[in-house]
């Protein structure tokens, strides 16, 4: 386990910024109430075996006691670095993203299953959408009962969405909670 270096930190923050915007400050400076220490520490990012984890500092201190080969995972995984060195967010970061998301999309009950199988979100399946979305913004997908289902990238702005026909793609799928079942081995 090691902390991220400059390059890696920039990449992680850029990806997160696409989804949470100015709430990135909340993620980085969130006081953590874990552990027996009286002073709440903060959360930080650590890299272990090409996977990036979001951990509280108290937990990190204790995790240094475990050998590197034996350490499987710590805190919450938010993404991983591919072989070519690019950073990708994985589905385990959904809770963190959903709590701080700026751009949200709610799906109608009929099209939830389609999204959970890995398909893109079409306009006909859209229940609600936050205003002010620009193309290539990170969007978190919710069900109508406010349960986060996954996230993706916006294909069109909100204004264009109004005029689209019902079969146009609104959000390009990136990750959904159905992956826990479909891609159990790869997570």
């Amino acid at each position: 386990m090691r902390p991220l270096d400059e390059n890696e930190t920039t990449q992680v923050f850029e990806k997160l910024f696409k989804f949470v915007g100015s709430n990135l400050k909340n993620i980085v400076e969130n006081p953590s109430h874990e552990g027996p220490d009286p002073n709440p520490g903060r959360y930080c990012f650590r890299l272990q075996k090409n996977r990036v984890y979001y951990v509280s500092e108290s937990l990190v201190k204790r995790a240094t006691n475990i050998k590197r080969e034996n350490l499987v995972s710590l805190g919450t995984q938010i993404g991983k670095f591919t072989k070519t060195g690019k950073f990708q967010l994985t589905i385990q970061s959904l809770n963190l993203l959903a709590a701080n998301a700026k751009h949200k999309v709610w799906l109608k009950p009929t099209s939830e299953m389609s999204f959970l199988y890995g398909n893109n979100v079409l306009k006909g399946g859209l229940g609600r959408i936050t205003e002010n979305i620009n193309p290539n913004d990170g969007v978190v997908v919710f069900s109508m009962s406010d349960m986060p289902l996954g996230f993706g990238v916006a294909a069109k702005s909100t204004q264009d969405c109004r005029k689209m026909d019902p079969n146009g793609i609104v959000v390009i799928h990136q990750a959904d909670i159905g992956e826990y079942l479909r891609m159990e081995d790869e997570l």
Partner: protein
């Protein structure tokens, strides 16, 4: 000496002359008044033969004397109102004048031309007199009455120009007259066939542009009387319908034709002739009748609508620019409030393309006050109005897309804290609460909980009217969002239902990140002890919402109604010992020299209360004073006693020594 006598004689003559002149002037005035009355009645009785007397009346109205001119104008107004025909007069062209016509036609032509020239002179005189301050009101009144009565007649444009100039005048009477006229023009479109509306609206837009949006709000308020056809915003549907109709008819024809082949050719040609003649008759009928073509009407209405929205956008842009650019200078946005009202009213016909721009502007305006530098910001009421309008626009365009206006919720969250009861309008806040929180169907749980908690805090801080409005909204929100009800449980920290955030942050600006699901509504406990019985019963019913199950007897009043009810009740709500105190007040009546307005008992009550309170307080403080005095004296006494004792001891000792 002689010249002195001469001079005095001259003076006497001059004085005599003047007196004579005055006498004769008075007589002349009387004569003129009679003449005016005579001519007027003659004209009303038989306009056609007495038409030339109009000229004489105009002549009288050009007199030097002030009151005669006013009388002349008024009588001319009355005459014209009655005799002007219901159609526009078109003077005959050269060609027509050369044609041989019957006596009757000649007579009518003469009548019409005299009428028209007299009317023209009258209108010109009115417009000239309007400039002079002495005749301003009278002239304006005449112009307005003419425009209201005969908006279809010639010279309407000149009248309209004068009226539109007057809708922003500094003089209250003139302005109210002109606004009333313009409103009646808009409402009674049947009289003038819609053209006057278009022209008036375009002129008002021009006026706003020229004055750079610094006009009186009444001038934009007149737009609220406009009305448009319901389907003005959907021009494509009729075209689509036409296309499908044509397709259907073509299909039908194709199907029908092979069946018709065996029919004789004669029949077909006869049918064609019949349909052709029918069309010709239709065209003739249309040309002759005064019924308006649907397409024409639609075109005029879209022109009006585009002019109206042009004005609104100009006002919004101006507001944004003044906010962005002014550094410490004060500026005024008088037109912003009626502009927002108008946008709210016409939001269902706005074009989708403009919607993005409009929402942008509204978002920036709503956020304008949140900066630290106080030099440029909008009042809380104006910002609330922006949020309300944004929601109305969104609601009216739901079939396009259901957009979640997150930014406006953030603004409302902040505005609830910034509200101050004296300075800002409570009705606007209640309306905002209703539209944004009660009417909305779906809410983020964290956001709803944040609003619940903040509304509870809010209702503790202000009077019963605002508390009631907030509590009504609160109950509504708790009803809709079942997960928020764990705020009613005494479970600080929220447990597992608290969402991502473990601790409540009361100063958070974003409701979604406040962590309100982890808080507890202890304010309800305090509110159950509120002095107003309605507020306390409401608070106790909310706090038992979880345990009592679904109560059917919830009265569904909106926050606005609650606010209005309690702000009226406030005056008459005082506990029962009303009469005693008023009788007290009568006894001590003369002492209170405040001017007591006849308005509310409330003031009487507070005055009587004040008196009693003052007495009690004075008693209390007297006692306190006495106690302090007492202590002081006692300490003095003690000191003197001590010093006396010391003296004695000293003397005794001295004696012993001796």
């Amino acid at each position: 000496m002689r010249c002195g006598k001469h001079l005095s004689q001259k003076c006497w003559y001059i004085a005599h002359d003047e007196v004579k002149k005055e006498l004769t002037a008075e007589e002349a005035n009387e004569k003129k008044k009679y003449r005016l009355a005579e001519l007027g009645t003659a004209l009303l009785v038989d306009p056609e033969s007495n038409i030339k007397s109009l000229r004489e009346m105009l002549q009288i109205a050009k007199d030097g004397d002030h009151s005669i001119v006013i009388l002349g104008l008024k009588s001319l107004l009355a005459v014209f109102k009655d005799i002007l025909p219901g159609y526009r007069i078109r003077l005959p062209t050269e060609k027509e004048q050369q044609m041989l016509v019957s006596k009757a036609v000649k007579k009518t032509r003469l009548y019409e031309s005299t009428l028209l020239t007299a009317y023209k002179a009258f209108v010109q005189k009115l417009i000239a007199l309007e400039e002079q301050a002495v005749y301003k009101r009278v002239a304006m009144r005449c112009i307005c009455t003419l425009l209201e009565a005969v908006p279809h007649f010639n010279f309407r444009d000149n009248l309209l120009v004068a009226v539109v100039k007057g809708i922003s005048s500094q003089d209250d009477v003139v302005r109210k007259l002109c606004c009333a006229t313009v409103k009646s023009l808009f409402e009674h479109e049947g009289k003038h066939g819609g053209e006057a509306t278009v022209e008036a609206v375009k002129m008002i837009a021009e006026l706003v542009k020229v004055h750079n949006c610094q006009l009186h709000p009444d001038s934009i308020d007149v737009f609220m009387s406009l009305s448009f056809d319901e389907d003005l915003g959907k021009p494509e549907s009729s075209e689509v319908d036409n296309k499908t109709k044509m397709k259907n008819s073509k299909k039908k024809r194709k199907l029908v034709e092979p069946n018709k082949l065996p029919a004789s050719e004669n029949k077909r040609s006869r049918q064609e002739i019949i349909s052709k003649t029918r069309e010709e008759v239709k065209a003739d009928y249309k040309a002759a009748s005064f019924a308006q073509d649907v397409a024409e009407r639609r075109r005029m209405q879209s022109d009006t609508l585009s002019a109206v929205f042009q004005t609104f956008f100009r006002i919004l842009k101006h507001a944004m620019q003044s906010l962005a650019s002014s550094m410490g200078e004060s500026f005024s946005l008088p037109l912003l409030a009626p502009c927002l009202n108008g946008i709210g009213k016409f939001s269902h016909i706005i074009d989708l393309d403009f919607m993005a721009d409009l929402m942008n502007y509204l978002r920036k305006l709503a956020g304008a006050g949140s900066q630290k530098n106080d030099s440029h910001h909008l009042t809380v009421s104006e910002r609330l109005q922006c949020c309300i309008v944004a929601f109305k626009v969104m609601k009216n365009n739901l079939e396009a897309l259901n957009v979640d206006l997150q930014e406006f919720f953030v603004q409302l969250y902040g505005l609830i804290l910034e509200y101050r009861p004296g300075r800002d309008k409570g009705e606007v806040l209640a309306e905002a609460l209703k539209i944004m929180l009660c009417d909305d169907r779906q809410h983020d749980t964290q956001r709803a909980a944040a609003f619940v908690k903040r509304l509870a805090t809010f209702s503790l801080s202000f009077g019963s009217a605002e508390s009631m409005a907030a509590l009504v909204t609160l109950r509504h929100l708790l009803h809709k969002n079942a997960k928020c009800r764990n705020l009613l449980e005494n479970d600080a920290g929220g447990g597992s239902v608290s969402g991502g955030i473990a601790k409540y942050n009361p100063y958070a600006t974003d409701p979604g990140l406040s962590g309100a699901l982890a808080s507890v509504l202890w304010e309800l406990n305090l509110l159950t002890k509120h002095y107003h019985p309605a507020v306390s019963t409401m608070a106790s019913s909310i706090s038992t919402m979880n345990t009592v199950g679904n109560q059917v007897s919830h009265s569904n009043i909106s926050p606005q109604q609650a606010f209005v009810q309690l702000s009226h009740e406030h005056e008459s709500f005082i506990p029962a010992s009303n009469t005693k105190k008023t009788s007290n007040k009568r006894k001590k009546g003369c002492r209170l020299s405040f001017p007591i307005s006849s308005a509310s008992k409330d003031e009487l009550m507070t005055l009587a209360d004040e008196n009693a309170v003052r007495n009690k307080l004075s008693e209390h403080f007297l006692i306190l004073d006495n106690i302090v005095e007492n202590e002081r004296l006692r300490t003095e006494l003690y000191c003197t006693n001590m010093s006396l004792k010391l003296c004695e001891q000293y003397r005794k000792q001295k004696k012993r020594i001796r």
